[in-house]
Symmetry: C2
Subunit: 297 residues, 2 copies
């Protein structure tokens, strides 16, 4: 039994294609790691790599990518719309297959120790890997970004989990473990962002809505959008989220135009949602006929 | 670019586990063929193997399985509920990935010629591989089964496409090519089979309903069931079938209890249906995060 892990590091570079290519190369250089996806955003000035492999190989690839980012990216000259605290800003490990979240927590802490010791960068642990309850939420850890961290890292409450309390041009690295996250946005047939905001407020867990759902109302290209993160699709599956947005939208007298997925959708989350719609008791990956098979021999 | 093909042969043996194991072994013996599924039904006295691979390897595996069936199964002593005409009764090739249906037609004809010449069995071509229009429908080719074929094979309209007009204990082989088929059954919350029959009549193509849909109303374990074959999910996708059954059922005042899939569901058919439910413009296999990856190197 292998222990398959996904890693989805976010880097503070979304414009220089050479730098982005070097980050990707750092990952590709590790045998038996598969780089699935690279996405960059100019306005956010940020790139996200998605790669998978067995835990030891993924740990090595994550380390090499952080090392490359620390050499190539200077936070003092970085200005983007997205909050960030480091060159390699956030590095989450995600369990796949039969791998446990605990195994990813251990991986995050081992990577953190190595980054602190070998690269001399301050490291903060977040989400399931957090060692302080106030560091579970990424937004809390990153509040104020790189600029504020330089002023406050000497304070006891800002002491890094690993590495020195020193902020250089590469800033700090926030490392953690979490379940697969589904980033799912629903566009409404209206330009009235207040409706999207009200739906988001009603639907999100922090507003007493659906568990394991975060939501924001946004105006995207002139259209109201309910932008959501599903942090545990086994607790609140995709079709329940869609159903809830649908019901709330019709209460506001607006229709759903379309939806979009950002990044990857865990296959079982897709199959669970489809099974619910089709009233199948269950739907497993082995029940699908694929366009590609691994043919041995 | 490989040309990936699925083969789903049906054999007239559903009881003797040793014979079924030998059929499976015949397929497994061919390198780079992957046997995905073996299913046997005692009452139907019938087994279905599902295997995939590149076209040449799948052709060889199909030939070996037909050869084994001809040696092991005696139609003169076979009595089951399911219509059948041969030991290896029906052998369809199905295109996967970028393979065309035409490529599968060619494969079916090459297999037919080889089975006729080397095994001395009469072969009929059906569906997309048919060389006579009246042989397109499997039910037409197989009408009267093995017993009737013995009496009529000398007639001109029964002349085999390949092989001798002689019916031995292994009977004839019906070989063809078709698109992936979805076998999908919907159970109603009633024991009134007449409602299932009326829904089936309204929904099937031959009754003026949905294109590429065949349907029967059945009573299964005391419950009314609409039993369907979707023969081209790109023409009529799964969610439209479910929607139509739902609408018709509610017109009859009954609810849908649950549904079931028999055999495999093409991944793109699953993703198309889910995309429709979630109002995603499209959903492609590359957008999924899997529990398993091929890790090279």
């Amino acid at each position: 039994m292998t222990s398959l892990v996904e890693c989805v590091p976010n880097f503070s570079e979304g414009r220089d294609q050479q730098v982005i290519a070097q980050l990707a190369e750092a990952v590709r250089g590790v045998p038996r790691v598969r780089l699935l996806h690279v996405t960059s955003d100019y306005d956010h000035h940020r790139s996200v790599l998605t790669f998978v492999g067995e835990s030891e190989a993924v740990l090595e690839a994550a380390f090499r990518a952080i090392q490359a980012a620390a050499q190539l990216i200077d936070l003092k000259r970085h200005h983007g719309q997205h909050p960030r605290m480091g060159a390699a800003d956030v590095v989450p490990f995600v369990p796949l297959g039969s791998t446990s979240l605990d195994a990813c927590v251990e991986l995050a802490r081992r990577l953190g120790a190595r980054v602190g010791a070998e690269l001399g960068l301050p490291v903060y642990l977040y989400e399931a890997a957090a060692q302080r309850p106030e560091r579970r939420l990424l937004a809390e850890v990153r509040r104020g970004g790189y600029e504020r961290l330089r002023e406050t890292i000497h304070l006891p409450e800002r002491a890094p989990d690993y590495g020195p309390a020193v902020v250089g041009p590469a800033g700090a690295v926030i490392i953690g473990a979490r379940l697969p996250l589904i980033a799912y946005n629903v566009f409404l047939k209206t330009d009235d962002v207040s409706i999207a905001r009200r739906i988001a407020r009603d639907i999100r867990e922090s507003g007493g809505g659906l568990r394991a759902v975060r939501a924001l109302g946004l105006l995207v290209s002139g259209q109201a959008q309910v932008s959501m993160n599903l942090t545990d699709y086994q607790v609140t599956p995709l079709h329940e989220v869609m159903q809830a947005v649908s019901t709330l939208a019709s209460q506001h007298g607006v229709e759903i135009d379309r939806s979009e997925l950002i990044g990857l959708l865990p296959q079982q989350a897709a199959l669970d949602a489809l099974a619910a719609y089709l009233k199948l008791p269950a739907l497993r990956p082995e029940q699908l006929l694929y366009d590609n098979y691994l043919l041995e021999g």
